[in-house]
């Protein structure tokens, strides 16, 4: 074995358990990055086995390696690059027939491929049997049975990879094809080295194109793959290696090549898989209810209701304990700092600035944790994809496919991944539309705002008020999409096509990795963005034109806020403190809450005492329940946080578009808050 670190690329269809397998090796210690220039996510981790280090790269799930989508192109280019030493093709062994198509494409790339047959536990449960002697014989690559969920076969897979790393081409493949079948001069040779041998007509073309490529590009490696891609009319390969082949290519052979690959797959399945007709009864039974033509939608709404109920009630109960801890910390800090003789300014910065800001946000961790836990459950169980089907009819009415609903649903968690998830939509206009309405789906960072203000002003009905914010956001999203549909009448929208995976019991480890990633994000945001925002807020509030001041009315912040008060007065938010909190909220939405702590000089606004204190202060300013409502509405709808705006800029590739969107959101927020406030004042 070489001493060089081996890089293993994990490739596979969506829903094949690739991420579970990857996590089984690397745990939660991942480096998530984007490829330079494009927002296609790759995850990286490392593992050690027998004193060797392996670098593992998890690539986006894909059904094929065409150049139709950016994701597939990027995946393909990365696999072809020198960076990857061995490809591990993860397949769902219980759905081998569909998974093998990608396998055949990967094998043609010419790099060492190891087939990992995942989900062997399900294969056994269903009484299916796979012939592990014949399968590698027919494919010419090593095939290793694994179960990521049960953690079996993991070490063997890495051993196989290590021993297979130098193998560029398969050993002799045992086909048992009838040589009479083919009149091709190299038929014998082809069958020795390639698992996938096409019809004579196509093999002839591959040979001819290969020869021409060799003439034009003498250094080209893997002529066969390039030739096949040119036959498939692959735009990316054709652009990179232009060649005049008008005399050879009378038609597009892609369809024929796909057909022949599946012909071979059927042969492989026929020989290597026994008892495959056993059905996954349980999934069908569950689907009878969950994707019922009439009941599907109410069931979905019920599930979402439950998710929010848990987020608010259980989350709030746990939050109580966090608050007690925070109070204790504040007191300890004041005590400690006074004891060491720290100045008034430093104590104020640490307690009123940092602890109030960052600590206040940390107390919401239970709510965030439960929300993401619920989302992880929905995703890992296989239900999420069904939502696309259930919502397809409604989404069709607003001019989007059911698939566009998935980014919107993820938007309840965080706008950033939700905007990135809009990539599943192929049509650019549909993607733009989805990106435009996704920020209206109330993200978890807005949750602290609702929790605080609704509990402050609405007591027992707090949960209803908070929940109505989610409904309002959804309503605004649908309304915006409807208007846009009206604007571009007659245009065909994206077509719904999505795999519905088998239902499974969510995997504890997968959920742990998912949730801990989100919690880590939240904590690091508290430690960075919110930390800085709290300090800046404290500075702006405690310094004025005459230097340090303990009277906030004299501060820079007050001056800035007062300039904008006239704009916010008609919507019931004409208080410089609130205006300033809203501006700071662009850094991150939670900052609205932490800023309130700093602005109103309350150590911890979310405790009972802090709340009563804030309630009194706001009340004395004339800020009542109606103003709170307008504030929540405005927070729901106005410009998303900086991170989200940056993501939108990256995904849309246009500053103009991003700017227009921000203006649109500000307008919508202002108009809606205006309507709520004015209508409310009329009736009350």
């Amino acid at each position: 074995m070489s001493t060089k670190e081996l890089t293993i690329g994990f490739v596979g269809n969506p829903n094949c358990g690739k991420t579970t397998l990857f996590n089984a090796y690397t745990g939660a210690n991942l480096k998530v990055a984007n490829w330079p220039g494009v927002t296609v996510e790759k995850k990286e981790g490392a593992m050690r086995l027998h004193d060797e280090t392996y670098r593992l790269v998890d690539l986006p799930g894909t059904y094929s390696l065409t150049s139709y989508t950016m994701e597939e192109t990027v995946t393909r280019q990365y696999i072809l690059s020198d960076d990857v030493d061995v490809i591990v093709d993860v397949v769902d062994a219980s759905a081998l027939e569909r998974n093998l198509y990608l396998t055949l494409q990967l094998m043609e790339l010419g790099k060492p491929v190891v087939l990992a047959l995942n989900m062997m536990d399900i294969v056994q449960e269903r009484g299916m049997e796979i012939d592990f002697h014949r399968l590698p014989e027919m494919l010419g690559i090593p095939c290793v049975p694994v179960s990521a969920r049960r953690r079996t076969g993991l070490e063997i897979l890495i051993h196989t990879v290590a021993h297979h790393q130098d193998k560029a081409l398969g050993e002799k493949i045992i086909h048992h094809h009838d040589p009479e079948e083919s009149r091709h001069k190299d038929a014998e040779e082809h069958h020795k080295y390639y698992a996938m041998v096409y019809s004579d007509e196509i093999e002839d073309k591959i040979d001819e194109i290969g020869e021409r490529l060799k003439e034009a590009y003498p250094d080209m490696e893997n002529l066969r793959w390039h030739a096949i891609k040119i036959l498939e009319n692959d735009q990316e390969v054709k652009e990179r290696h232009p060649l005049d082949l008008t005399d050879l290519l009378d038609q597009d052979y892609e369809k024929e090549i796909i057909n022949q690959k599946f012909g071979f797959i059927e042969e492989v399945i026929g020989e290597c898989v026994a008892n495959r007709t056993r059905k996954a009864e349980s999934t069908d039974r569950t689907d009878r209810l969950l994707t019922h033509p009439v009941l599907g939608l109410p069931v979905f709404l019920l599930i979402m209701g439950l998710v929010f109920f848990l987020t608010f009630t259980v989350g709030d109960w746990l939050k109580g304990y966090f608050e007690i801890a925070l109070d204790w910390l504040t007191e300890a800090a004041v005590g400690g700092l006074t004891a060491v003789g720290a100045g008034e300014m430093l104590i104020s910065l640490i307690t009123n600035g940092i602890i109030a800001g960052v600590g206040g946000i940390l107390t919401f961790l239970p709510n965030i944790f439960i929300l993401f836990l619920a989302l992880a459950f929905l995703e890992d169980s296989g239900y999420m994809a069904r939502v696309a089907y259930v919502m397809d009819g409604i989404m069709g009415r607003i001019g989007l496919s059911g698939r566009a609903f998935l980014p919107m649903l993820l938007g309840f968690g965080c706008t950033v991944p939700a905007v990135m998830a809009s990539r599943v939509l192929e049509d650019r206009r549909d993607r733009m539309k989805t990106i435009l309405i996704t920020p209206f789906m109330s993200c978890s960072a807005r949750l602290p705002i609702y929790v605080m203000f609704s509990e402050l002003f609405f007591g027992e009905r707090a949960m209803i008020v908070a929940f109505s914010m989610y409904v309002l956001g959804l309503f605004m999203a649908i309304l915006s999409a409807f208007v846009m549909k009206f604007l571009d009448r007659g245009r065909e929208s994206d077509m719904l096509l999505i795999e519905l995976p088998e239902y499974k019991t969510p995997n504890a480890h997968t959920i742990y990795v998912y949730v801990s990633e989100k919690v880590k994000d939240y904590l690091s945001k508290a430690g960075t963005t919110i930390f800085v925002a709290s300090i800046v807020m404290w500075l702006v509030m405690n310094f004025g034109f005459h230097g340090y001041t303990s009277d906030m009315d004299q501060s820079f912040g007050a001056a800035l806020g007062r300039v904008l008060v006239p704009v916010f007065a008609p919507i019931g938010l004409g208080y410089w403190q609130i205006v300033l909190a809203l501006i700071s909220g662009i850094a991150a939405k939670e900052v609205v809450v932490s800023s309130c702590s700093v602005l109103f000089g309350i150590g911890n606004v979310t405790t009972e005492a802090g709340m009563a204190n804030l309630f009194g202060l706001l009340g004395s300013m004339g800020f009542g329940p109606l103003n709170a409502c307008a504030l929540m509405v405005f927070c729901l709808l106005y410009v998303p946080c900086m991170a989200a705006v940056a993501t939108i800029r990256r995904e849309t590739g246009s500053w103009r578009w991003t700017g227009a969107m921000a203006a649109f959101q500000l307008t919508v927020a202002w108009v809606t808050a205006f309507a709520v406030y004015q209508a409310g004042s009329w009736f009350l």
Binding site: Y63, S64, T66, Y68, S94, A95, E97, R98, Y101, E254, K255, I258, N259, F262, I265, R276, T283, D284, D287, R288, T291, P293, A385, R386, A388, Y389, D392, G393, G396, S401, G402, E426, E492, S493, M495, L496, L497, I498, E499, L500, P501
Partner: protein, 73 residues
């Protein structure tokens, strides 16, 4: 007949697809080729369907199911 006319639970054979090339390729890559047998697992009134292709379920919108010519087997 067109796919969207297919009854729940019926097995059908694909005869022809009249879709934008990209969508058609996408379906083919999933194993839905001319001649492939598919099963209708579930359907909505308007024509959105859950189809089983080679053992895997896929949800398809009406805009796809109305463009696929099938025959009963």
């Amino acid at each position: 007949m067109k796919l969207y006319e297919g009854q729940k639970g019926s097995t059908l054979q694909v005869i022809h697809m009249e879709l934008p090339v990209q969508t058609e390729r996408r379906l083919e890559v999933l194993g839905m080729l001319e001649g492939t047998r598919i099963t209708v697992v579930n359907r909505k009134k308007k024509g959105a369907m859950i189809i089983k292709i080679r053992g895997t379920r896929f949800a398809m919108g009406q805009s796809i199911t109305e463009c696929i010519e099938v025959k009963e087997v």
